[in-house]
């Protein structure tokens, strides 16, 4: 099973790049052939990542590859530091640089004294795993390198760790999370690793009251911050009505605060409304309902839990990325050995509710009810920033597909 028909799972390097590009005040410098950078611009634009004065390439010529000449990289570092004065320059190896063993870290080390910007090397060249591994490495290195010592306490601020611009509806989810945190506790979001955040927020992140770890790949970074600053952490993401309440309760417990009663009542009402689905399911005479969820591990678990809370059995939970960066993964979530295995499985599903990415949905038979739930998006584009998958609005959105599914079932 070696042929990739659609889009391969993005590499660790790609995950690192879209994470770093989401940090305002920094520059990403790729050490490698320019074509990769140019090619990537379209994808990053689709993800909503700003590239203007944030992404550069050195290009690389045969001499650089054969002789290991890094002078091109040295000059580019000096030039960016002088011209743009970023707080940090992330020097990211290309696959070619990684294969020839270019010592990016060494270059950053000796060049550090010549520039004002903080130089941080990412030597993963796309060969250390998929993007989930890259996200973990990015969160870890940022948490290790950038937060300032002795930060001012920020009792009403929480950090988001494990955010990814490569996730479907990422910016909508962020908007929903901010709204929930504000309404529930009057909290604001400080640093966000990594999405629409700034160097200042990351430098101050050690003073936050809590780190919210939205996906497992953020755990090593959160543990580092806990060890260094004593910041407690809450793991998980709010999917579904019950899941949202549970998530908020964990935050309440960690901070010793109460959930705002108005919001609590709103969630209770939604939970009450949702209980009717069990009744509808019991009245089915012919069909046996089943759900398949394909997407990112944490989202698959979250949405799967939501469906089960509604009385809908989840037949398949499939993660689109490897679980190498997930400690003790839930055994109900599987990773298909190949694209073909996943596509063959999906081709065989009938009269199910299927949540998945566009390529996966493209092979599902027409007698299913489907909902786009993961990247990549190949039909249309993400535009809205108010259509989350997380939180109450996310649950409302998914519930609309449940309604459609119930209408189809007999």
């Amino acid at each position: 099973m070696s042929l990739t028909r659609f889009l391969p799972v993005p590499s660790d390097r790609m995950g690192i790049l879209w994470s770093l590009l989401a940090i305002d005040g920094c520059v990403v410098l790729e050490y490698g052939p320019a074509g990769t950078t140019h090619f990537s611009v379209g994808l990053f634009g689709e993800l909503g990542v700003d590239r203007q004065n944030r992404l550069f390439t050195t290009h690389m010529r045969e001499d650089d590859v054969v002789m290991g000449d890094v002078s091109r990289l040295e000059k580019a570092i000096v030039e960016i530091d002088r011209n743009l004065s970023p707080k940090a320059i992330f020097v990211v190896a290309s696959s070619v640089a990684a294969v020839i063993g270019a010592d990016i870290r060494g270059v950053c080390s000796y060049m550090q004294e010549r520039v004002s910007a903080r130089l941080i090397a990412f030597e993963q060249g796309g060969f250390r795993g998929d993007y989930a591994v890259g996200l973990m490495e990015a969160y870890k290195l940022l948490a290790e390198q950038l937060p300032a010592d002795d930060p001012a306490p920020q009792p009403d601020t929480v950090n988001l760790i494990g955010f990814s611009m490569g996730s479907y509806r990422a910016l909508s989810d962020r908007w929903e999370l901010e709204d929930l945190l504000r309404r529930a506790f009057g909290l604001r979001v400080g640093a966000c690793l990594c999405g629409e955040t700034g160097m200042e927020e990351i430098e101050r992140m050690g003073g936050a009251a809590l780190n919210l770890v939205l996906r497992e790949e953020g755990l090593p970074a959160a543990r580092m911050l806990r060890a260094r600053f004593g910041t407690p952490m809450v793991t998980g993401a709010p999917y579904g009505y019950a899941g949202t309440l549970e998530w908020l309760q964990k935050i309440a417990d960690a901070l010793g605060r109460e959930i705002d009663p108005v919001l609590r009542a709103e969630i209770a009402e939604r939970l009450s409304d949702a209980s009717q689905y069990r009744m509808s399911l019991m009245m089915l005479r012919k069909d046996r309902p089943a759900v398949t969820v394909v997407g990112e591990y944490r989202a698959v678990l979250g949405a799967g839990g939501f469906f089960e809370s509604l009385g809908l059995p989840v037949e398949n939970r499939i993660s689109l990325h490897s679980l190498r960066a997930v400690p003790d993964p839930d055994p109900s979530v599987r990773v298909c050995a190949s694209e073909k295995e996943r596509l063959d499985l999906l081709r065989g599903l009938h009269r199910q509710l299927i949540l998945a990415d566009d390529p996966s949905l493209s092979v599902c038979p027409a007698d299913n009810v489907t909902l786009r739930f993961a990247m990549p998006v190949t039909r249309g584009a993400q535009v809205a920033r108010h259509l989350p998958l997380m939180g109450l609005r996310g649950a409302d959105y998914i519930a609309e597909s449940v309604e459609e599914y119930l209408q189809m079932l007999r």
Binding site: R5, A34, F56, R61, K75, A76, V96, P376
Partner: protein, 433 residues
């Protein structure tokens, strides 16, 4: 802030260039950088309707290439004929043959292609796998042509070698046969040849157009291409293939580039019809006059108009020579290649009244402060129009010329230059306000 004076101080002038190696980049940190030859190869295979593109490389190379093709009807979209064999650490360490063998087996079974272009990427070339030998083996095993195309970007400047190598690889498909009456079109990268003036003129003269590579053909068309009476090369990327066909099959060729100068276009038509052994169609006189008049008409509006040349569908120096002939003043030319001996005819005219800076292409970030110093009226190429407008610069949009060949090019581009020059005057007023 980027210091524009410093950037310019490090650039060479066109007069001083002794070869392409003298062309310096605007900066060491580039954005967005040039396209890579992998993209060029994909552009070429796009037009060969029953061939499959098999990318061999990293997840990233495979991802971006597929991503580019998803919205292409020519490629067949998501389920289309761009697939990949993605390499992991094991493949890089031990070689990619095992992975490629398995991928090819699946590909042949599922896609039933007429030909497969195995396109290598940088990493495959660094590890040194002999993909040419693999391709020969697959050809023998499956009884259909597998063509290896090498697209390492660290050995070339941009995507054009990818196009060139892909269409040159098609030579391996061609079979000798009796000479027919058609002409082949070689090297049209984009656009529809049947929409061009050249096509209308040829068909009006009773000439049948045969294979159109790479803008629209089948593998069978390529197999039979050697039967053509002549090859029309509309871009230098097709010259290596044309040379090979001339040597092996005796097929003559005529270079009919996307020229802008009406005199040069008239000469190309004359050479083409001479090669075909046909009289020059009478309509060409009228078309020539129309183009020459369009150029004359644009001159008053273009006198002294200063410009920065980025990229266009035209030959860089030929077009610059033409613009200079209209009274325009080049301030900075972005190109990857200037060879004084080869380009002597163009350079003499350009340098007669100006001596522009010259730099490499596809690096628009450091251009921003340069605009403030050079204060051009026009920018030719892809930039952010709104950003240019704030600096009083109008953008010349020439992409429409991708579907043009012949005197229509002159008419179109002179009108576009005049339009943009008028727009620049309005923008200057906005900036002053």
């Amino acid at each position: 802030m980027i210091d524009g004076h410093e950037i310019l101080s490090q650039l060479g002038k066109l007069r001083d260039v002794t070869g392409s190696k003298d062309i310096r980049p605007l900066s060491w940190a580039l954005f967005p950088g040039t396209h890579c030859p992998l993209m060029g190869a994909a552009m070429a295979v796009r037009g060969i309707r029953d061939a499959v593109l098999l990318v061999v490389g990293t997840d990233e190379c495979a991802y971006y290439t597929k991503h580019m093709t998803i919205h292409s009807d020519d490629f067949g979209g998501l389920h289309g004929r761009c697939v990949s064999a993605v390499l992991d650490t094991r493949d890089v360490t031990f070689g990619c043959k095992a992975k490629l063998d398995a991928a090819v087996e699946e590909l042949v079974a599922e896609y039933r292609p007429e030909a497969v272009f195995i396109v290598t990427t940088c990493v495959v070339e660094v590890i040194g796998d002999d993909v040419d030998a693999f391709a020969e083996g697959y050809t023998a095993r499956y009884g259909l042509p597998f063509l290896a195309v090498h697209t390492e970007h660290f050995k070339c400047e941009n995507h054009l070698p990818g196009l060139e190598r892909t269409i040159t690889a098609c030579f391996g498909l061609m079979e000798a046969g009796p000479r027919g009456g058609t002409v082949n079109l070689l090297g049209q990268r984009m656009g529809d040849f049947s929409a061009t003036e050249l096509y209308r003129v040829l068909t009006g003269a009773g000439v049948k157009v045969g294979m159109q590579l790479p803008c629209g053909c089948t593998v069978a068309d390529i197999r039979g291409a050697a039967a053509a009476r002549a090859n029309i090369v509309v871009n230098p990327i097709a010259l290596p293939l044309a040379e090979k066909m001339k040597e092996r099959f005796g097929t003559p060729y005529v270079l009919f580039d996307k020229y802008t100068s009406p005199v040069r276009i008239r000469k190309a038509y004359a050479e083409l019809f001479a090669a075909l052994g046909l009289p020059l169609p009478e309509e060409l006189d009228a078309l020539y006059r129309e183009a020459a008049e369009a150029a004359e008409a644009a001159k008053p509006a273009l006198q002294g108009v200063r410009y920065i040349y980025g990229n266009t569908p035209f030959d860089c120096l030929e077009f610059n020579q033409f613009m200079v002939s209209l009274g325009m003043v080049p301030q900075l030319i972005q190109t990857v290649s200037v060879e004084p001996e080869r380009d002597r005819a163009y350079l003499a005219d350009i340098l007669a009244g100006s001596d522009p800076y010259v730099t490499k292409t596809a690096n628009i970030a450091p251009l921003q402060p340069v605009y403030d110093i050079l204060r051009p009226d026009l920018y030719l190429g892809h930039e952010f129009a709104a950003r240019l407008r704030k600096k009083g610069i109008a953008m010349v949009r020439s992409d429409r010329a991708s579907s043009m060949l012949g005197f229509e090019v002159t008419v179109f581009i002179t009108e576009e230059l005049a339009r943009a020059a008028a727009e620049a005057r309005d923008y200057r007023k906005e900036v002053q306000v």
